[in-house]
Point group: C2
Chain length 270, copies 2
């Protein structure tokens, strides 16, 4: 397989684009996909103060790396969830990354605040991922408001969002479907939220991190065992293998055509 | 595993219902699901003349067997598609079934009419399944009109319909989504179409056929190789295994809540 752009030996083969790329041109391809997402969905521009939510995983670190490289005004925001060794390791990765690239970051420590995830889990009868999601959203917003950020950016990739769309679609959960978008506009005290990696798969983000020496935590969160999102990801990957492009088409056509149809509370009369 | 109803040894375990059944009570369960579908979706009643579309496969023969057993006024309608040995074998199964149960049937022979599927396939540049679908719909309607049937009943089961829904959803194909329903009302020259097996899976229909000595063609149609519906069925089965009930919920909630949202050509303004 040869690089589509220069004809040199390809390092990666992207079946859904029917193309191979060498490192240089994969990087070009990758950044172009991020630019496309930012422009197409009108996410932000160079005048915005962007808070990048980072976990220490590949997606958030790649996002921060890229937005910084592209010249945007970024600050990292890390929440120490207090999930034992997993949280310690991820904080180490975040600190190493921040130091290496001389970036600004804000750290919130749930243990110091008295409610790490394991404590919340004992009090709230819901799956840890659900509790953690609520806690994260709360602190993302709070920190963004306190520090006057314009934008909250998260590293969700195409696999994450297509899986979430699959879950909401299998249940035809109208309230959640209505809110699915790569951009959520600002509303009252809630800052504008964006997902610039939405055009890139988990595999592509991982390859980008690897090729560009971005060191991240590879452990899965121990609390995420049994998360249904993995089932949806597996099903989508199976279909993607047979029909390359399925995930992107499923997600982008939803956003383009179908999302609007779920936006009214009342059912439409024909 | 014991039968939920009588406590005897269960012959079949239905995880999505969290229940096992002996033969007698599986039959009871099965017929109850068909009754529920007929009532819930107001499919037909004892005054209707029902044309049952039969292929020689398990679904259509089980459907005919049941509707006849339940006392409905049924006639079978078989289209000989002219697909070599497959069509010959399926006709044999249909004839044997019709004779055994002393039922009325109408046979349309595409070869005698000059356009068996392989001939049509040479002239029309589309997948054989698509051509075959169009030909079947045309003759179903024509025969139903010529013979004054009130209802056209097909043996589509939950797996068929959930897979079709998955395919249309992955593409967000609004025109097809708008038309997905276990009942399509009569319109001009088009007779009312119903799918009474919609609450039953492929596995359950197969088990019913086996337990009740209904002999059907087990060969897959040779033209269906590479049909995308198999990919959707596999993905849904994978999710069903992890989360029993997924297929039924996906399909029935679509019909209950979401279908209506796709019924207008124009997109709704918020």
């Amino acid at each position: 397989m040869k690089c589509r752009t220069c004809g040199e030996r390809a390092l990666i083969n992207l079946r859904r684009h029917n193309a191979g790329f060498c490192k240089e041109h994969f990087n070009e391809f990758f950044i172009r996909q991020v630019e496309k997402a930012i422009h197409k969905y009108e996410m932000f521009d160079y005048s915005d103060k962007i808070m990048v939510c980072i976990s220490g995983g590949k997606d958030s670190l790649v996002l921060w790396y890229l937005l910084h490289k592209m010249g945007f005004d970024t600050t990292g925001m890390y929440i120490n969830l207090g999930i034992g060794e997993y949280s310690e390791k991820s904080l180490e990765k975040v600190n190493a990354f921040t130091d290496k690239h001389q970036l600004r970051s804000i750290v919130v420590n749930l243990t110091e605040l008295g409610h790490p995830i394991p404590t919340l889990e004992r009090h709230v009868k819901r799956h840890a991922c659900s509790i953690c999601g609520t806690a994260k959203r709360y602190y993302f917003n709070r920190v963004a408001n306190e520090n006057n950020f314009d934008i909250v950016a998260t590293g969700h990739n195409l696999d994450d969002e297509a899986a979430r769309l699959m879950g909401n679609t299998l249940k035809w959960d109208e309230a959640y479907l209505a809110k699915m978008s790569p951009v959520l506009p600002a509303e009252n005290q809630i800052k504008k939220k964006v997902k610039p990696l939405i055009r890139l798969t988990e595999l592509e983000v991982g390859a980008y991190a690897f090729m560009n020496g971005i060191d991240y935590i590879t452990d899965e969160c121990p609390k995420s065992v049994g998360a249904t999102s993995m089932i949806y990801k597996n099903a989508l990957n199976m279909m993607e293998t047979e029909m390359p492009g399925t995930k992107h088409y499923f997600y982008s056509e939803f956003v383009r055509k179908a999302a609007e149809r779920f936006k009214s509370e009342k059912k439409r009369k024909i």
